[in-house]
């Protein structure tokens, strides 16, 4: 199909499409971290888990020719990392942040080690739904080609938001995250809840990694992640531990991330590198604007080691 020139309209379209594409891993990682942090733990290892998830998903997809099996394997691997994190953190005087950083390096290193032989072969991609079928303009079609994981992520955000209010499990996670004493008093073992919450969160983060290698950019290499796992932790704080907020924040970040490429595509040939930094500038700006030294962070789980 020939490219139709749509002028400056290309910028918002490219940002929309980019927002959807770029935000998907953020959605999964931040939702996962929301579950973990709501239970009172911080898992900074998500970056490593994300990279390992990307490698696992790609490798399994190459071997089985099914991207879905790849994602499943990634989730399983992620859960194992999460269980490992949760298990170590249950010991006294273990700092979850330090373990997270160790896990981040470990996951990345392990992924590079196992992933060497999968840099060459091609894996099948995850499907996308063509919501832009009604249009003849290729840019519109490209922007509205929505990948399935984005839709699942959107649904998951709403489901988590609902579950934190309306299910027993959701309430128990919040209880454990806010007051371990209260949880113990009602006969809940905080360590077990956190173990499972970290495992679930890590599984989601690994799925986010799987998206990177199986959809966008859609290949496995050692520079596949550009810090999504770490940025997602900031996203969770920014969205005040609210799953719907995570979704919105992820889109915002995705959009900001797409600004640079979008400008480049309409022919802005210099200075666009500055716009590549937009997500990071945005993070800083928002964090500064929404925080204050004289006030406690509203909505922060009381058991979190950063708020204690």
């Amino acid at each position: 199909m020939a490219t139709t020139d749509i002028g400056l309209w290309g910028v918002p379209l490219a940002i929309l499409g980019g927002a959807i594409r770029v935000s998907t891993p953020f959605i999964f990682v931040s939702l996962g971290e929301t579950i973990t942090e709501r239970s009172g733990r911080i898992n900074l290892g998500l970056e490593g888990i994300l990279v390992f998830g990307a490698m696992t998903a790609y490798a399994v997809a190459v071997m089985t020719a099914s991207p879905w099996l790849g994602l499943l394997a990634a989730a399983g691997a992620g859960a194992c990392f999460g269980l490992f994190h949760g298990w170590i953190c249950k010991f006294p005087r273990v700092n979850d942040i330090a373990i997270g950083i160790a896990l981040m390096l470990f996951g990345t290193g392990l992924a590079f080690f196992f992933g060497k032989s999968f840099i060459q072969p091609l894996a099948p991609h995850l499907p996308a739904l063509p919501f832009g079928f009604w249009s003849d303009v290729p840019q519109v079609r490209a922007a509205l080609d929505v990948n399935v994981l984005f839709l699942i992520g959107a649904f998951l955000a709403a489901a988590l938001w609902w579950a934190f209010r309306n299910t027993r499990i959701g309430l128990i996670i919040r209880v454990v995250g806010d007051s371990a004493d209260a949880a113990r008093a009602m006969g809940v073992n905080p360590d077990r809840v956190r173990l499972l919450a970290t495992a679930a969160g890590s599984a989601l983060a690994a799925i986010g990694g799987g998206y990177l290698s199986l959809y966008y950019p859609g290949s496995w290499n050692e520079s596949i992640s550009s810090g999504q796992g770490l940025m997602a932790v900031a996203l969770v704080i920014f969205s005040r531990w609210n799953p719907l907020g995570c979704f919105a924040a992820a889109i915002l970040f995705g959009g900001a991330g797409a600004l640079g490429p979008a400008l480049q595509s309409v022919g802005v040939s210099h200075g666009y590198y500055l716009f590549y930094a937009a997500p990071y500038v945005l993070t800083l700006a928002i964090m500064i604007a929404t925080s204050s030294p004289g006030r406690t962070l509203a909505g922060a789980p009381g058991e979190l080691s950063i708020t204690k």
């Binding site: 209010r165 309306n166 299910t167 027993r168 499990i169 309430l171 128990i172 919040r174 209880v175 806010d178 007051s179 004493d181 209260a182 008093a185 009602m186 006969g187 204050s292 030294p293 004289g294 006030r295 406690t296 509203a298 909505g299 789980p301 009381g302």
Partner: protein, 509 residues
């Protein structure tokens, strides 16, 4: 869930003994609480009250001893087992989850909470349950937003909602105004009279024991020091059982405030954001003159903490001015030193000490970087620090194993003594104190109050913020009440009436 016509149960502990290593925290204590009675457990800190209760509720496995429920020997080896027998406990530190609403807190504590909660149905059930309750609490607000009194009520409602028919109240009124305390305990008292509930209340306030309890047991040093029917005992008898033959410090005679005493500390139009950042506190005008104690009463969370933080320079003030002896004061270390301002925050171990540093180091915080002539010096004089610590520990009777003990290892009373020793040495012109006696035992409380009075008589202007109205009534020359971030009431001590003060504290003004 509570059912109609629920009946109180009788509980008895026989020969409870608890040893931690070589230390006997509880020595062969028996206590019998008949169904539908209100029993008080009196004792100093460390007398074994909470050890006894924890043994009864299954938190500890007693070294020896037996629990009887409804006259039958039962094994209560975990809080869950206690719950199954209908035994529940309301802790001094709330166990409600702050970010959950009241309704969520109640429902999640049930053992039969369904996987998916049908809030429509639960709300209706809760509404019906609350109709039968003696007091009402908003259930749709996050608990963090409730006042202390409401939290306390909600804790009790929670126990009833969970079907407990014997409840332990651990110093239930320490966070309540006198009015709230009477209301809550009055309702509980009526429930015991109706035979719906049996209550064991841990307390150190004689008044509430006299007013509400049927029987009392007094513990001292892990042993039963006495007890019996409250009607047959008086304050003196109970105090004697509690304290034994310890020597208690007495307050100095209050020197009259000189008519022309200069204003030592003033705050004018001070405005600052509170910790939520949503509301602000406003102090229109406050003056503390040399040689007087001005007490600020108020339920915690009404801006006292923020005001103290402003005075201590820990919180940004948006407008207004603070002066000390006529000079503008910004709470820098230099100013505090030059103007002789001393600050003793609440929970001194957390807010005024470095818990893992030694007693000697902690005692040197104000002077460690000054040489003999009071100038800054680069080198630390370890010998001077030790000599200073040695002198203060003796003078203020701080009980510590050695000067090199981490201060966190000291008991609460001794930490407070150490902090007082540090802050009250030398010239003191302005002393700001917050809740100095919270959680301390009799002897320590008397000691510390005597020290504050001495400082006042020596000419210091004292600003005393306390949640304990009795303390304020005992020490203050004037009492101010803070409510919702501003001072709403002021009275000289001669005309102070705890009822009126309580009403202002509760926001009825």
């Amino acid at each position: 869930m509570a059912e109609d016509g629920q009946k109180a149960i009788s509980v008895e502990a026989v020969g409870m003994t608890m040893r931690f290593g070589g230390f006997t925290a509880l020595d062969d204590v028996s206590i019998r609480i008949p169904a539908g009675s209100f029993h008080a457990l009196l004792g100093e800190n460390g007398a074994g009250k909470s050890t006894l209760v924890k043994c009864m509720m299954g938190f500890y496995r007693p070294t020896a001893g037996q629990m009887m429920v409804e006259g039958r020997e039962e094994l209560v080896d975990s809080p869950r087992a206690a719950a199954a027998f209908g035994l529940g406990m309301v802790y001094q530190h709330f166990t409600l989850v702050p970010s959950l609403t009241g309704a969520e807190n109640l429902v999640i504590n049930r053992t039969d909470t369904p996987q998916v909660i049908d809030w429509g149905k639960e709300r209706a059930a809760l509404h019906a349950f609350m109709q039968a309750m003696p007091f009402q609490v908003p259930l749709d607000e996050p608990v963090a937003r409730l006042a202390a009194g409401e939290k306390q009520k909600l804790e009790i409602i929670k126990q009833l909602y969970l079907g407990r028919r014997f409840i332990v109240l651990d110093e239930p009124t320490s966070v309540l105004t006198p009015g709230e305390a009477d209301e809550v305990l009055g309702h509980v008292r009526r429930m015991t009279k109706r035979g719906e509930l049996t209550v064991l209340m841990i307390s150190h306030k004689f008044n509430e024991v006299m007013t509400f309890a049927d029987d009392v047991t007094v513990l001292r040093k892990g042993q039963r020091a006495g007890g019996g029917k409250v009607a047959e005992l008086d304050h003196q008898a109970m105090a004697a059982m509690m304290i034994g033959d310890q020597k208690i410090a007495t307050l100095d005679v209050r020197q009259p405030v000189a008519a022309d005493a200069a204003a030592a500390l003033t705050a004018t139009d001070v405005k600052a954001l509170d910790r939520t950042g949503l509301k602000s506190i406003t102090i229109a005008g406050l003056t503390v003159r040399a040689g007087e104690i001005v007490g600020i009463a108020g339920i915690s969370g009404n801006g006292q903490k923020e005001f103290l933080e402003v005075l201590a320079g820990q919180r940004h003030r948006e407008t207004g001015e603070i002066t000390v002896k006529g000079a503008r004061y910004h709470a820098t270390r230099g100013e505090a030193h030059a103007l002789n301002v001393r600050f003793i925050p609440e929970e001194p171990l957390r807010n005024a000490c470095a818990p893992r540093m030694t007693v000697a180091d902690n005692l040197a915080f104000r002077t460690f970087d000054l040489d003999k002539r009071g100038r800054h010096s680069f080198w630390i004089d370890a010998g001077a620090i030790r000599r200073n610590a040695d002198r203060l520990v003796t003078r203020f009777k701080v009980k510590t194993a050695s000067l090199d003990t981490p201060i966190a290892a000291l008991s609460g009373g001794n930490v407070q003594r150490a902090v007082l020793a540090r802050e009250l040495t030398g010239e003191v012109d302005v002393l700001i104190v917050a809740n100095p006696c919270f959680g301390l035992d009799f002897a320590a409380v008397a000691d510390i109050r005597a020290r504050i009075m001495q400082a006042r008589n020596a000419g210091a202007a004292v600003l005393l913020v306390s949640e304990d109205l009795d303390e304020l009534l005992e020490l203050s020359d004037r009492i101010l009440v803070m409510s919702e971030g501003s001072i709403v009431y002021e009275t000289p001590i001669a005309g102070a009436d705890s009822r009126v003060i309580g009403q202002h504290m509760a926001g009825h003004h």
